[in-house]
């Protein structure tokens, strides 16, 4: 609730900027909606297919692609500036490990070990300020731009597949295991920096290509070793570590291609 208030405060602060702005735009059109596919080829990896449906475990060969689908509303607020509000969504997968106390066991002699494949749904909202490069002949919303902004991801996951290594290989499969109690939702905030080139066709359509990087606010806390868990951590920590590693890796560098439409 507190964060929502903060967001509303930011938006209300920017509203006068948008309303008062009288920059030229492209032939007077300052507002546009855009649809962007953001992707980066991934060579090998635990979950090459971003959606995580088809594979479990490590893919040995090949290149896969991550895709994020984004929509944004951009408004030109200066001759060389524009402001965008964007929402995005993508799926990915993550591997983690969980440990549960065996059912009926007297304890202290080990735990059941679960290899989990999470299907991860990442939704995001962000606010982006673009600076179109005057020296490159750009005039918002056309030409080359640098942009920076903040993005908040809302992550929710579900266990799509699981294999269990029971401590008691005879009884374990018969009795099953205890529930793995992990909260599979979390949020990560990113600082986004990027570059893109916008071209206008037929005075209406925008084609944009570019790349960007996104760095989490609390970068220092992340473990990029790819360790998705271990017995010294709780299941929740294992899960969060796996998701952090996955999502941050996805967000780190992207290539974008998008189309837009100049509204008014």
């Amino acid at each position: 609730m507190h964060k929502l208030k903060l967001l509303l405060f930011i938006l209300s602060s920017l509203a006068p900027l948008i309303l008062m702005a009288q920059p030229p735009g492209y032939l007077g059109k300052r507002a546009s909606v855009n649809f962007t596919v953001s992707s980066l080829p991934v060579i090998l990896g635990p979950t090459v297919n971003n959606r995580g449906r088809d594979y479990f475990g490590e893919k040995k060969k090949g290149i896969g692609f991550n895709y994020e689908f984004e929509g944004d509303f951009s408004y030109v607020v200066g001759r060389y500036r524009s402001l965008s509000l964007k929402v995005g969504q993508y799926y990915t997968g993550a591997l983690s490990q969980a440990y549960t106390t065996p059912l009926g066991a007297s304890g202290g002699y080990g735990q059941d070990e679960h290899d989990l494949f999470h299907r991860v749904n990442v939704k995001s909202i962000g606010i982006i300020l673009s600076r179109f490069k005057k020296e490159k002949g750009a005039l918002a919303p056309i030409g080359n731009r640098f942009y920076w902004g903040v993005k908040r991801t809302f992550i929710s996951a579900s266990i799509a597949e699981m294999t269990t290594d029971y401590r008691d290989e005879v009884v374990g499969p018969i009795f099953g295991h205890r529930p793995i109690n992990i909260d599979q939702s979390m949020n990560i905030n990113f600082l986004v920096l990027g570059w893109s080139n916008h071209q206008v066709f037929w005075d209406k359509l925008i084609l944009k290509t570019g790349f960007r990087i996104a760095i989490p606010f609390n970068l220092a806390e992340y473990d990029f070793e790819g360790d998705s868990g271990g017995s010294t951590f709780t299941n929740q920590e294992n899960f969060e570590s796996a998701i952090n590693s996955r999502v941050v890796n996805h967000e780190l560098f992207r290539v974008d291609i998008g189309v837009g439409y100049l509204l008014f």
Binding site: P23, P24, Y26, L27, G28, G78, R79, I142
Partner: protein, 774 residues
């Protein structure tokens, strides 16, 4: 009774003609615009290239011919559309009539329908194009003695047209470049010299052919061959004004204000004799020396029959009238060319003929004012001295005077001269602006009028002016001790009383200053003017403007001013200039496309096509941006738009003058009244000068290669990057308030971007948005 009516009518007509003679008008184009001016260059090019098809020739020769046709058509059209060429005016009609009197029979020449236009410059010259156009300068008409001389020059130019000398020169030039480039690549400067020498030699050969064969045509006509001889003398002395009368000192003086004799030459430089042996620099000249040409032609003329031949076939009065018109125009053209001494001298010559002509007096005023202005901003006195030393004949006196006068003296002279004119015509807006600005310049130098005497010069002021700086010819002709003396000069009697009562209190420095002041000849510049308050009021206005400007400068030098300046810049970057102007006139939108990767870098056809598209985009986008924009473009005119054509010529003159005065503070145009009239006609004071220069250069492929080697994944991006050229573009848009001279640079952006249609559209809209929004 009936008889007396005729007498009155005749007298009335005579009076009318006399009046007309006293108030000549400047020449301007009239009637229908000839096709030469409005046919697109690309169309002309394509038509001429068609004629090459089917003809057997080497591939290289064909390529050269095509290139020549391209370059010449676009080059000629640049001249035709510059506003410097006159057609259907009395002078152009006259030279075409003379052209008709020449009996040329070559059918190829006849097919080209030779026609002549006036080139509105003071230079003495004529030249022809292979397309059959002959340009004759007004300077030449002003200098010739008779119609026969003009006919001979036209005959000479006809031969250039007949033999396609321009094409020959172009081809020969390419051949020389190729052969010297091949054989003497390592000879450096020597090969450059040889290149120029060979080209000049070839050019002289063509000129000799034009002389010889031109004379043949001329001799077949009814013109007197004897008349030709002086033509070469006229061409030789082309660097002199059209007359050589003594420039009299009182011209710039009055009963109180006398220029010291030190500023005046006892003997002007003599005019050099025409001597063929001294013509050393002919080797590198494109024309044979006039002396040699004269010598050669004398022999041919001697053998020709002179019986019943005439200096004039058309009525002599016609020639005299045209020459008078041409001469009247020369001072204006000298002023436009910023040759101020020549402008003053030629105006002086014409004032001998038209003593009451106010426009000629204004030329003198403007020339003095502009020279003072330039000298106050960036003293080019030394340059002027160099030129002055080389001047010959009576015009040397004016050059010498202008060079010797210090910026301060020039400002005094300019203020005085223009003020006296302004008093006679206060309704003249152009004069008002000039005078106002002259007062401002004056106020920069003088903080008050105490240095000027209000009483007549009863003292002995040395004509040699004591205290003249010895180190420079352009120094003040008086001492320059910078001590402020606050003497109120409200009235002569007050001043006298004050002097009497304070005599005993004078210090040593006061006495030195007073002594020095006594010898300033310019102290008496405004004796009459200071009698009333009007002059003082104008000076006070000048002081106020200077004060405002200084305060503004001081403010922007302060940290607060700097902050405000930065804030303004930021605001402008965000929103543009926001001028709040609803109506604007766009003049001759310009487009130039250059491909620096090619030997023939200028892309003429693409430039013209892009220029048309640029104009159309301007028209379209002006509507979208809800600004009332009128686009004036010579290339879009129909043959009936003569008025617009003349307006464009005038506005082009205005732009070029304003760009020449770029470093000066607001300066009225040389023909401000005409500019004001155009502004009134189009209902806007705001004229936009805009254009694009697009450049393609060789790509620095190494960076793409390196990137591809390091990251093969980027190949899809690097391959297009490696094969496409580098693009650069200059987009400029300068808005002038033509009545005040105030300008706004809306765009002067240089960026590495392709000149795509949408990028241009965005910038055109941005320009209009800056003009329109507030």
């Amino acid at each position: 009774m009936r008889f007396s009516k005729y007498i009155y009518a005749t007298l009335f007509l005579l009076c009318s003609f006399t009046l007309l003679a006293q108030t000549p008008e400047l020449l301007k184009s009239e009637g229908k615009i000839p096709k030469d001016f409005i046919t697109p260059s690309t169309v002309k090019y394509k038509n001429q290239v068609k004629s090459l098809e089917g003809k057997k020739a080497k591939r290289r020769d064909k390529k050269n011919k095509k290139r020549f046709i391209l370059e010449s058509n676009f080059g000629i059209d640049d001249i035709l559309q510059s506003g410097l060429v006159l057609f259907n005016d009395p002078a152009s009609l006259y030279i075409n009539k003379v052209l008709d009197n020449l009996p040329f029979s070559d059918h190829k020449l006849k097919k080209k329908k030779p026609r002549a236009y006036i080139l509105n410059t003071p230079a003495v010259n004529a030249f022809a194009t292979d397309q059959g156009i002959i340009f004759v300068t007004l300077g030449l008409l002003a200098n010739l003695e008779n119609e026969a001389q003009l006919a001979f020059i036209l005959a000479h130019e006809l031969i250039h047209v007949q033999h396609q000398h321009a094409l020959n020169k172009f081809e020969q030039s390419k051949e020389i470049d190729r052969s010297i480039g091949r054989k003497q690549k390592n000879m450096g400067q020597m090969s450059v010299d040889r290149n120029v020498f060979e080209k000049s030699m070839y050019s002289r050969k063509l000129e000799e052919q034009a002389d010889d064969e031109g004379l043949e045509i001329f001799l077949k006509s009814e013109y007197d061959p004897e008349m030709v001889l002086n033509t070469f003398k006229i061409l030789h002395y082309a660097y002199l004004p059209f007359d050589n009368l003594v420039f009299e000192k009182p011209f710039l003086e009055d009963e109180h204000f006398k220029l010291p004799s030190k500023l005046w030459l006892n003997d002007v430089n003599p005019i050099s004799a025409m001597n063929d042996e001294k013509d050393d620099d002919e080797k590198l000249s494109t024309h044979p020396s006039s002396a040699k040409r004269l010598k050669k032609i004398k022999e041919q003329v001697r053998n020709a029959k002179t019986g019943n031949k005439k200096a004039f076939i058309l009525p002599e009065s016609m020639f005299r009238d045209i020459q008078s018109k041409a001469r009247y125009q020369i001072p204006f053209l000298n002023l436009y060319a910023e040759n101020f001494p020549e402008a003053i001298y030629t105006a002086y010559l014409m004032l001998k003929e038209y003593p009451d002509n106010f426009e000629l007096k204004k030329i003198v005023g403007k020339a003095l004012y502009m020279e003072a202005k330039y000298r106050n901003y960036d003293d080019p006195g030394d340059k002027l001295i160099d030129i002055a030393d080389e001047a010959e004949g009576e015009v040397h006196q004016v050059y010498n005077l202008m060079a010797k006068l210090s910026p301060k003296e020039l400002t005094i002279l300019a203020t005085k001269y223009n003020w006296n004119l302004y008093k006679e015509a206060k309704e003249d807006n152009e004069l008002e602006l000039t005078t106002k600005d002259a007062f401002t310049e004056f106020a920069y130098i003088f903080e008050d009028l105490s240095d000027f005497s209000t009483s007549a010069n009863t003292e002995e002021v040395s004509s040699d002016t004591k205290g003249t700086k010895n180190d420079s010819n352009s120094s003040d002709s008086g001492s320059d001790i910078e001590i402020e003396i606050e003497i109120e000069t409200e009235s002569t009697s007050d001043q006298t009383t004050a002097e009497n009562t304070e005599e005993k209190k004078k210090t040593k420095l006061d006495n030195i200053e007073e002594q020095s002041n006594k010898n300033y000849y310019w102290k008496y510049a405004f004796v009459n003017e200071l009698k009333g308050n009007e002059f003082r009021n104008h000076f006070a206005e000048g002081l106020e403007i200077v004060k405002e400007r200084k305060e503004k400068d001081d403010y922007y030098d302060s940290s607060a001013g700097y902050r405000a300046y930065r804030k303004q810049l930021k605001k402008e970057e965000k929103k543009g200039k926001q001028l709040g102007i609803k109506k604007v006139v766009v003049v001759n939108p310009f487009y130039l496309s250059i491909d620096a990767r090619k030997n023939d870098a200028i892309q003429y056809i693409r430039s013209e096509e892009k220029q048309v598209a640029f104009r159309e985009s301007i028209e379209k986008i002006s509507k979208i941006s809800k600004i009332n924009a009128k686009v004036l473009d010579v290339t879009a005119l129909s043959s009936n738009n003569i008025e617009t054509f003349n307006d464009i010529s005038e506005i082009n003159n205005y732009f070029s003058q304003q760009m020449d005065h770029y470093d000066l503070t607001l300066t009225p145009a040389y023909n401000q009244n005409a500019t004001n009239a155009i502004a009134e006609k189009y209902g806007s004071d705001y004229f936009l000068w805009t254009g694009v220069i697009s450049l393609r250069e060789k790509n620095n492929k190494w960076r793409y290669t390196v990137l591809s080697l390091l990251y093969p994944i980027f190949l899809p991006l690097t391959i297009p990057g490696a094969v496409t050229p580098e693009f650069d573009m200059l987009y400029y848009a300068i808005l002038f308030d033509v009545k005040t001279g105030r300008r706004s640079i809306l765009k002067m952006d240089y960026f590495d971007k392709r000149d795509s249609k949408t990028i241009l559209n965005a910038h055109i809209y941005d320009v209009f948005h800056q003009i329109n929004s507030k």
